[in-house]
């Protein structure tokens, strides 16, 4: 087994991988940029190396710096987490050349899946159903016109190198095609330095369902069931669950077997995810393969009872899978909420800053994977994902009930988060009925509903008024926590301070 693993990442995923390593008795090397010295993953590591400026290109995306640390520290393997270098074939190759094991698929498998058009071609050969359209980049507007006419409108234009919705255009009618094609090409050029664009039949309000696969280096490949990922904003997943409310055992078997074929067609090893679009008739089409550990992997862990990161490490260590397909069982239901530093009062824009107070949920069926801690300052330089709250239950209703209970326990002070959004989602009748698609969240956010899940009753307002007064009266200086307010209400000093502050703000105006 590996003696020492370098984790080329930060935030909650770095912490999650550190935990797995320590559980397996493996030492951990962390890397950090200048703004991450106080980050949780540095606190928890056995060794920690600074790798430069906050900009990812200077640090977490800098292959040379990371391989230097691997050499200096004597790490014998690297876990890339997700994002950053996790799907970078160049990095995987560089690791191989440096004699450090990359915990993930081979560079060749990444290349096969890296370009959506090349992936589509491979899948056609493997007989995997994908959305009708071109498997090659469009040579001309004329070709686009012909294909679109053939497969029928609406159609979707997509960048071959695409991701995160960049270089994508939905086209309802021939008239829109020309400008859409130009727009998609230039955006793809700008975003990925590659203007290749292809066309697909547009599936309206589809579900986004993905299948977890695991392949060892001895030719064994299994699927671990699906994840329902239809709740998205700006093409970013917000809530994921396993199993999907619409997938029955037979459909699971079919999708799973297709996913295994996809993985095998690419000579895939280690953990990977095959994404499908599912239409209203439950037809599923191959979308793409993510050649890394997914953010939402915990929901699969909870319903299968497995630890995917442990398994990734065992596989990378050359061990065969410790179980066969028929030993994999789905039990219960799990739902994940991605806690972001986002401001619900301001269109969910990022809200970095110092965490002044942190109340943490726990108890039955609650798992919390987090990269934050009270007193830490969330840097403004990276993705705003702070933590993941995952609820498990005997069935979907219990999982929802436990998550709502836990969300009410969760509180992050000093910055704004999207915690309240999940209360709205989980209490929404459509969601509770499992009626969700990729358009659900945008529709929900259009609805005017600022009061969380319960309406403001007069008693709650009364409580708010009195609490506001008590906070002012007790002040922040006051009270060894847990002491009786009655017995140590502090003089109005503390309060007046805040009053002066408000006043001062006002003064600023005149």
């Amino acid at each position: 087994m590996f003696k020492k693993i370098l984790i080329a990442n930060r935030g909650e995923i770095a912490v999650r991988v550190i935990r797995a390593c320590h559980e397996m008795g493996i030492a951990v090397v962390a890397v950090y940029s200048d703004v991450d010295r106080a980050a949780l993953h540095v606190r928890k590591a056995d060794e920690a190396y600074p790798i430069g400026a906050p900009a990812a290109s200077e640090s977490y995306l800098n292959i040379q710096k990371i391989l230097d640390v691997a050499e200096r520290s004597g790490a014998d393997a690297i876990h890339p987490g997700y994002g950053f270098l996790s799907e970078n074939a160049k990095f995987a190759r560089a690791c191989a050349n440096a004699g450090v094991k990359f915990i993930g698929p081979t560079a060749a498998a990444m290349d096969a899946m890296g370009s959506k058009t090349r992936a589509r071609q491979a899948m056609e050969r493997a007989g995997v159903p994908s959305v009708p359209g071109t498997s090659r980049g469009l040579e001309s507007y004329e070709q686009a016109e012909q294909v679109a006419a053939r497969i029928g409108y609406p159609v979707m234009l997509k960048a071959a190198a695409g991701g995160g919705g960049k270089g994508m255009r939905l086209v309802h009618a021939p008239a829109e095609l020309k400008s859409a094609l130009e727009g998609a090409r230039s955006e793809a050029e700008r975003s990925f330095g590659d203007g290749e664009v292809y066309v697909e039949k547009a599936i309206l309000n589809p579900r986004h369902i993905e299948m977890q696969v695991l392949a060892d280096e001895h030719g064994n490949t299994v699927y671990l069931g699906e994840r329902e990922c239809s709740l998205q904003r700006r093409h970013q997943k917000v809530v994921e669950e396993a199993p999907s409310p619409i997938v029955d055992p037979e459909m699971r078997r079919q999708m799973g077997e297709v996913a295994v074929r996809v993985a095998q067609a690419a000579g895939y090893t280690n953990a990977g995810t095959v994404e499908f679009l599912v239409d209203q008739q439950k037809n599923f089409y191959f979308l793409e393969m993510n050649t890394r550990l997914q953010v939402e992997h915990p929901v699969t862990e909870l319903v299968t009872g497995l630890d995917l990161v442990h398994l990734q490490i065992h596989i990378a260590n050359g061990e065969p899978l410790p179980f066969t397909q028929d030993q994999v069982q789905i039990r219960g239901h799990a739902i994940e909420c991605r806690i972001y530093a986002e401001d619900p009062d301001n269109n969910y824009f990022p809200s970095p800053g110092r965490i002044t107070l942190l109340l943490l949920p726990s108890g039955p069926g609650i798992r919390r994977d987090s990269g934050m801690y009270e007193g830490w300052t969330v840097p403004m330089d990276y993705d705003p994902l702070l933590a993941k709250l995952i609820g498990y239950g005997t069935d979907r209703d219990q999982a929802i009930g436990r998550l709502q209970r836990a969300l009410n326990e969760y509180f992050v002070g000093g910055i704004k988060t999207n915690i309240s959004l999940f209360r709205r989602i989980l209490s929404n009748p459509e969601f509770r009925a499992g009626k969700i698609d990729t358009g659900f969240l945008d529709r929900l956010l259009k609805q005017r509903d600022e009061q969380g899940d319960s309406p403001a009753d007069p008693q709650a307002i009364e409580a708010a008024v009195i609490a506001a007064g008590m906070f002012a009266a007790l002040g922040q200086s006051a009270a060894g926590a847990g002491e009786r307010a009655g017995t140590d209400g502090s003089p109005p000093k503390a309060n007046s301070v805040s009053k002066w502050k408000i006043a001062a703000h006002r003064e600023g105006l005149h």
Binding site: D343, N346, N347, F349, P350, S351, P352, G353, T356, L357, L359, M380, D381, Y382, D383, P384, N408, F411, G413, G414, I415, S420, R423, E450, Q451, G452, S454, A456, Q459, A460, I461, E462, A463, A464, V465, I466, A467, A468, G469, M470, F471, A472, A473, Q476, A478, A479, A481, G482, A485, G486, G489, P492, N495, K499, K501, I502, H505, R506, G508, L509
Partner: protein, 164 residues
């Protein structure tokens, strides 16, 4: 002491007096039996009669919100003397300040001092975590002051500009 407290824009008058460690409380003139423990700073365990509430205080960039269970209220606490001026600042007449919605970097200033702006028109752009956020004018009027320059780092709540 006496507080003017506004909850989601509605004003209430609260009298709190402490006698031998016990609080007596009058809300808009009504006497209310209550009892409170500050479990942690910004976390209050409140009993009104025998009803129990955990109230959390969210303070970000000068704003204050209260969570009563899972319901959130915008709150402001002030003493009566400053009430009038406050009311004026609040309504649509007089100057309004544009504040940074989050810590970040000012990447663009879209209008110059003295320019006329419509309500909802973008005045500056702030960037953080790879996302750009346009700060819009809350009213039609004249840009009286621009207080931040391009490239400047700002904190949530900082006043960036004032529209008169």
């Amino acid at each position: 002491m006496t507080y003017e407290i506004s909850i989601d824009g509605n004003n209430h008058r609260l009298d709190l007096t402490q006698v031998e460690g016990r609080w007596t409380c009058r809300l808009d003139g009504r006497e209310i039996a209550m009892d409170a423990v500050l479990a942690r700073p910004d976390v209050l365990s409140l009993r009104i009669g025998n009803k129990a509430y955990e109230v959390k205080c969210e303070r970000v960039g000068g704003e204050m919100h209260l969570w009563v269970g899972s319901v959130r209220f915008a709150a402001e606490v002030r003493d009566p003397r400053s009430l009038r001026s406050r009311m004026r600042a609040a309504d649509d007449h007089g100057p309004r300040k544009l504040v940074a919605p989050m810590p970040g970097k000012v990447v663009r200033v879209l209008v110059s001092q003295g320019a006329e702006v419509e309500a909802g028109a973008g005045v500056l752009v702030v960037e953080a975590m790879k996302m750009q956020n346009e700060v819009k004018s809350p009213k039609k009027g004249t840009v009286q002051k621009i207080l931040a320059s391009e490239g400047a780092a700002v904190n949530a709540g900082d006043v960036l500009a004032i529209v008169e």
